[in-house]
Subunit: 173 residues, 2 copies
């Protein structure tokens, strides 16, 4: 789950579009739920580490992918598809040089997470998110969810990772 992918795939598939306009049937309180994740899953900052990620270039990002226990166990055991209840969190920060570390090294070589940029989630619920491969996608900036237009490219892009149940991240051993 790389946040830049949101910007790269501009055309949603028919399935993706359907997911964006179709209300979820049978929602408990009668309201139609959004076809993507609109609330930040609780406790994600204390989840286990799946891998780190660095995006060079314009994004210049450094971050980590964390998972709840269901996610972590599935990643570690290579279990596919990911079971319902899996939640994957991608925490992104600016990739900034560490002045303190580089003073020790005597050169600019050490980079660490700077200001947070966004947080993304993939929530596996094969019923609720059936129209988007069983995954609900989420993107939050300053605690606020992105809108439907922004979320549109998530599913068609992640569909390219069909062999790994739409997940790009690999477990770091």
């Amino acid at each position: 789950m790389k946040h830049c992918k949101f910007f790269l795939v501009a055309v949603a598939t028919i399935a993706g579009l359907a997911a964006l306009i179709a209300p979820v049937p049978g929602h408990a309180n009668g309201q139609s739920a959004a076809p993507y994740v609109t609330e930040i899953p609780q406790g994600y900052r204390g989840w286990k580490w799946i891998s780190s990620a660095h995006e060079a270039g314009k994004l210049n990002s450094l971050g980590a992918v964390l998972g709840n226990d269901i996610a972590f166990n599935a990643f570690r055991d290579g279990k596919l598809p990911y079971p319902d209840g899996t939640i994957i969190a991608a925490l992104h920060y600016q990739n900034v040089p560490s002045d303190e570390n580089n003073k020790i090294f005597g050169q600019v070589q050490s980079f660490v997470p700077g200001a947070p940029t966004n947080i993304q989630f993939m929530v596996k619920d094969s019923t609720k998110y059936a129209a988007t491969g069983g995954w609900g996608f989420g993107h939050f900036q300053d605690g606020k969810p992105a809108d439907a237009a922004f979320m549109k490219p998530c599913f068609p892009c992640h569909e390219k990772a069909k062999a790994t149940d739409l997940v790009f991240t690999r477990y770091a051993p």
Copy 2:
């Protein structure tokens, strides 16, 4: 805790040298314990994420710093000095481009952890490791601990981070 720092500080302080040759008094089984960490702490791969780290240049490393619950809570709450029982783990990997991700991006911009290179630990035990600021340092490659000569520069280098109890890593919010 950056692994390259081991290579940069070649001269141990008197305190560091003393720690390397002095047996720890009162060790339960009568053997003299090494003044650094020689066994990999159990379960570290499932610990919580403190931060990520990228070293450019020759090291070309990408990794993560994890902590046991005592470490994680202290980092999160900004508690200094770190309490006894704190264990910090630095997992290092080669920084490699992700062919799969870059195919999506249309350019080489996405970097992920490749082959593991080494794992390092800082174990806080103000009695056992009194001679090295209360911290036991550990470095493991292919599961095997480094020798005393390799470990010598750890303490004098980390002493430079006295304001943060010898810890260079900062908590990523």
